[in-house]
């Protein structure tokens, strides 16, 4: 009996330990490979604390090809976020306020990128552009429409969830009865209350764009993932170091977003949304 109890207690801990090993071991291996000046074959437990250096990473960071590809990726990500929000915010609001019957259709359209593989997308779309506007495919910004389609599910879902949590119809009606025009309703009521959703959508879109490889490779664009794939051959330590750096930065960014989200969720509480709740 006591043994059973002991096993019952130890199980959850064991699970957590396994999970930690599962996630941390590759990261640690990555870090050792990237930041220890020791041939991979002789990496062992006795030289764990020896000859750590960030020279490899610095070499990569100093590479003009790196800064170029980073700036391409950031610019493309920025414009993708703009295009997506510009398209999806009015669409999602319209679906919720005026045409709830169309919600299913819009939702289906937004999940198409899950169904259509990127290769089919690129072949189809680039074929069209090549015949009508070949100059567009030459520009790095030709990635924007592709990435907008890829990130559409995240943007729609994020906005959809945010809107569902609000009693949107009533808030809009209340604002209108108080004298607010449609544009005022948009700026003073809808956007402030959808702030968390907008940040979430932008963040998810950003990460999709910064990690996308297939389309960039097919269209021969020098984005960050393309650079990293190439650098793995010429400067493997630096490329892995860079990968690790991006992981850390993304984690920090994600933590910041969830802090904002937490702050917002204290100001937008389910209590004042639900009809029929007693005080």
């Amino acid at each position: 009996m006591a043994a059973m109890k002991f096993i019952g207690k130890i199980w959850p801990r064991l699970y957590i330990a396994i999970a930690i090993v599962f996630f941390v071991a590759p990261l640690l291996s990555m870090a050792r490979f990237a930041f220890q000046r020791i041939p991979m074959i002789s990496l062992g437990k006795d030289n764990l604390f020896k000859r750590w250096t960030i020279d490899g990473l610095l070499t990569t960071l100093r590479d003009p090809e790196f800064s170029h590809s980073l700036s391409v990726s950031l610019k493309v990500a920025f414009f993708t976020v703009l295009v997506l929000l510009f398209l999806m915010v009015p669409t999602t609001l319209w679906v919720h306020l005026s045409a709830p019957r169309w919600r299913g259709v819009v939702e289906t359209v937004t999940i198409l990128p899950y169904v259509v593989p990127p290769i089919a997308l690129v072949v189809g779309v680039s074929g069209t552009y090549r015949s009508i506007a070949p100059w567009f495919l030459a520009s790095n910004y030709s990635l924007v429409p592709f990435y907008a389609i890829l990130a559409m599910p995240f943007t729609f879902r994020s906005l959809d969830v945010g809107i569902k949590a609000l009693d949107l119809r009533t808030l809009v009606d209340a604002a209108k009865s108080l004298g607010a025009s449609s544009s005022r309703v948009m700026w003073n009521v809808l956007l402030p209350n959808l702030r968390t959703s907008l940040i979430n959508a932008a963040f998810l879109t950003f990460t999709v764009v910064l990690g996308e490889f297939t389309i960039a490779s097919l269209l021969l664009k020098r984005t960050l993932p393309m650079y990293m794939a190439e650098a793995q051959g010429s400067e493997p330590q630096g490329a892995l170091g860079l990968g690790l750096l991006i992981l850390v930065l993304t984690t920090i960014l994600f933590t910041l977003v969830s802090i904002i989200r937490k702050k917002d969720s204290t100001s937008i509480n389910v209590k004042n949304i639900n009809v029929g709740m007693v005080p």
């Binding site: 609000l166 009606d173 209350n193 005080p279």
Partner: protein
Amino acid sequence: MSALEFVNVSKSFRDVNALSNFTIALEQGELVSLLGPSGCGKTTALRIAAGFETADTGAILLGSTNIISLPAHQRRMGMVFQSYSLFPNLNIRDNVAFGLKVRGVPGDARKKRAEEMLDLVRLSDLGHRMPHQISGGQQQRVALARALATEPHVLLLDEPLSALDAKIRVEVRDEIRRLNRDLGVTTMFVTHDQDEAMSISDRICVMNNGVIEQTGSPRDIYNNPATSFVAHFVGSINSLPMGSTRVLIRPENLVLATHDESAHWRGTITDTTFVGAFTKISVVLDNDNSSVSVLAISAQIDRNIEIGKSIGINEATR
């Protein structure tokens, strides 16, 4: 001239007539309830007045101006909804000041007015709180203050008490009545709750299937219902045989016959429910098996009123 008048307003959704030739005039300062079961068209009427729905035909007169084609934000109607509808991103004071802000009232005047309004609903110390930090009843009072801050032509209330629990409901109800009297603001109140309508209204407009069944004072509606629907919907009523027809009599207008009295109707007691000052006695009539309830003053009830006993019923003499 009326403060607000509906003239032959009709509205249908697909093939359902939500409102047919709806005509009613509200006098300045009057509180009129639209009372009826769900789907009777009362909320549609209110939303048409607010400008959230467009009428198919008819006119809405504000004074002598027809506002039927005016967009909602230009109508100056104060509206309070069933769900509390405070803007979650603004604190209480800014919620109250919202209507003034969009009308371009400068900051200081806005703040002063918002404080005044919060004072009016006795929540002046909660101005800095966020909506989720106050109770439902308080939120609804803030919603009232917000709707009244812009001095609307008419206050439109769409089931504002339905989301509140019983005790708070009475408090907010009394608050609405007080504000209506003190400020003299014409008020249209939509509800499906007859007690609510009875206790708050100058006049009640009972609706069913998109048409008005009767409009009158609460007393009038209760004592002289114009249609069988009104008689059954407002209060409870018994249908008793009298000769070849049937008569409708309220439970409190029936009395139990004493032993030596001759009784108009005879029946068997099936249930007695003690509700404090009154006791409800359910009887099944001997000659046609219809159920009748009699509301008697508890203190006057004979001790041997028991289930299964035969009893005589008479109409109370007024």
